[in-house]
């Protein structure tokens, strides 16, 4: 069997980066939530805030750990699978990755220990400062990575000399044309993810009639944050959409599912298509009439540009881009609807008492992660066939590595990552089932993973007795 090394390299990077992005999204969202919660505890001295902090600290720590480990893999994959990309773009990308380490990783490494283990070892204000620094670290990390990725989407401040990227203006490399729009969009996505996660777990407790004070407070805060953030996200997303039409027209042409140079007037908004890339047409289309003109051209009869405006050898695969966008946008619409429903119920005082709404929140618990994945599939598959837009094609960036090596490492990644995901879900579900009152006052060093994984140890409620709030 002849396997294409370029395809395997792409599948491997796609798989590992898709897995990785789940965890930073959760940890960025939860870090900010924890900083706000601890700030509220310091201000009000309400022990319920402290209980919420302790509970979510454990889940944050696990997400943070898996995110760091799976992020390191990506750097190595630049060498394993995309060495020619590294060779060419290293002078621009390398320093940004290094700066991520120097700023955010050092900040996080310095303060994470205090955050996890220092609740009773340092003063409350210093502990709060540590939590804020970790939250700032996650924000800086996202900022540098988005800067590097946005430079690949909209390269600026560089010249090509002898097949290598040479930086001519660092400010333009870092603050490249799409970064200012993509960064707030990604940060809002992470904070929305955290909000729905927190609200979903709180709603689950309310439905079960357990930990009611904790459930009410987290449902209230989670839905409040989600309501504010999703409205802002819809606004930010629309601004970013306009910029991407300008910077990467082929991506947005593919994202809307139109082939012809100009769509019919008025244009429908497609929700389901079966694209035929070879024949440059859709085999099946299902959409809402006129809505495409309204949403995409802001008029009742506007036409939308299709993918035939882009030469076939420069077109992304429409299916990936279209469904990446539809998953993200579809979930955003549902989130906005949930936000409006939460306001409606809050107005009548029924936010904690309406079971259908609480069930909806439980179902929506992982919605932020799924929407973020959809958004990244839109961003990355829409940039194809380029790895650096307009400069380096993905096919030309692949390492001269035999297909066997890529296949075997891909299988190894799938096995190891399946173990990571199983462990994360197992421990997270166990923490949630145990409830907030069992959350330890601070993380306890066991000294041995084998010892820590023993059922008797895992089920024991370690550490000082938490404060009772119910």
């Amino acid at each position: 069997m002849n396997l294409d090394p370029a395809l395997l390299a792409r599948i491997q990077f796609g798989f590992t980066v898709s897995f990785h992005i789940i965890f930073p999204t959760i940890s960025i969202g939860l870090a900010m939530f924890l900083a706000i919660i601890e700030g509220l505890w310091l201000k009000t001295k309400d022990p319920l805030y402290l209980q919420i902090y302790r509970f979510w600290l454990g889940i944050f720590a696990m997400a943070f750990g898996v995110g760091v480990v799976t992020g390191i893999v990506l750097s190595f994959e630049f060498g394993l699978a995309f060495a020619k990309f590294g060779q060419m773009a290293g002078p621009a990308i390398g320093p940004m990755i290094a700066l991520e380490v120097l700023t955010s990783f050092f900040l996080e490494a310095g303060f994470l220990g205090i955050m996890l283990f220092g609740l009773h070892r340092v003063g409350p204000k210093l502990h709060f400062f540590a939590t804020c620094m970790v939250a700032l670290g996650t924000l800086l990390s996202a900022s540098w990575i988005l800067s590097a990725n946005s430079w690949m989407q909209t390269p600026d401040g560089t010249a090509i000399e002898n097949g290598h990227v040479v930086v001519t203006d660092w400010l333009k490399v870092v603050v490249n044309p799409s970064w200012l729009y993509r960064l707030p969009h990604m940060l809002a996505a992470a904070y929305i993810t955290g909000s729905f996660l927190v609200a979903g777990v709180g709603a689950w407790y309310l439905l079960r009639g357990e930990h009611l004070a904790f459930g009410r407070r987290t449902v209230s805060m989670g839905t409040a944050f989600a309501t504010i953030l999703i409205a802002a996200q819809v606004f930010l997303g629309d601004i970013l959409y306009g910029k991407m039409v300008q910077f990467q027209p082929a991506k947005m042409q593919a994202a809307e599912g139109f082939w012809e140079k100009q769509s019919q007037s008025p244009a429908p908004y497609y929700w389901i298509i079966v694209p035929d890339q070879e024949r440059q047409r859709n085999r099946f289309e299902l959409g809402v009439p006129v809505l495409g003109s309204i949403w995409l051209t802001h008029s009742l009869d506007g036409r939308v540009e299709g993918l035939k405006n882009t030469p076939t050898d420069r077109q992304p695969q429409m299916g990936w881009v279209f469904y990446g966008f539809r998953v993200m946008y579809g979930i955003a619409i549902i989130m906005f609807s949930v936000a409006v429903a939460s306001l409606w119920l809050r107005w009548w005082g029924r936010l904690f008492t309406t079971r259908w709404f609480l069930r909806t929140l439980v179902v929506m618990t992982p919605s932020g992660v799924v929407a973020t994945l959809g958004g990244w599939y839109l961003a990355e598959t829409g940039r194809q066939p380029w790895v650096i837009y307009g400069i380096l094609r993905t096919i030309d960036a692949v390492s001269p590595v035999p297909a066997d090596a890529l296949l075997s490492s891909l299988i190894a990644f799938i096995c190891i990552y399946a173990l990571f995901m199983t462990a994360f879900l197992l421990f997270a579900v166990r923490l949630i089932r145990r409830g907030p009152q069992a959350a330890p006052a601070q993380a306890e060093a066991s000294g041995s993973l084998k010892h820590a994984l023993k059922a008797s140890v895992m089920n024991a409620h370690g550490g000082p007795k938490p404060v009772a709030v119910e």
């Binding site: 409040a224 309501t227 606004f235 629309d238 949403w295 409006v340 005082g349 309406t354 079971r355």
Partner: protein, 62 residues
């Protein structure tokens, strides 16, 4: 005030809230231009913050 899940008043209110939410969504995504979009976002956030202060029932309803 009747707080039964399916009352006539409640149904009309829910439809009104849905229509208002749809109007906000269409406006915020820029259908009526950037300045109207910003104004709608500010109005939505102000309305939300105002509603956040409402007291809530504590018992779960079916």
């Amino acid at each position: 005030m009747d707080k039964a899940p399916i009352s006539l008043f409640g149904s009309i209110g829910a439809v009104a809230a849905m229509l208002l939410g749809t109007a906000f969504f269409f406006t915020i995504i820029g259908v009526f231009g950037l300045s109207v979009s910003i104004a709608a976002l500010v109005l939505f956030l102000a309305l939300a913050v105002f509603i956040f202060r409402r007291p809530q029932d504590q018992e779960t309803r079916p």
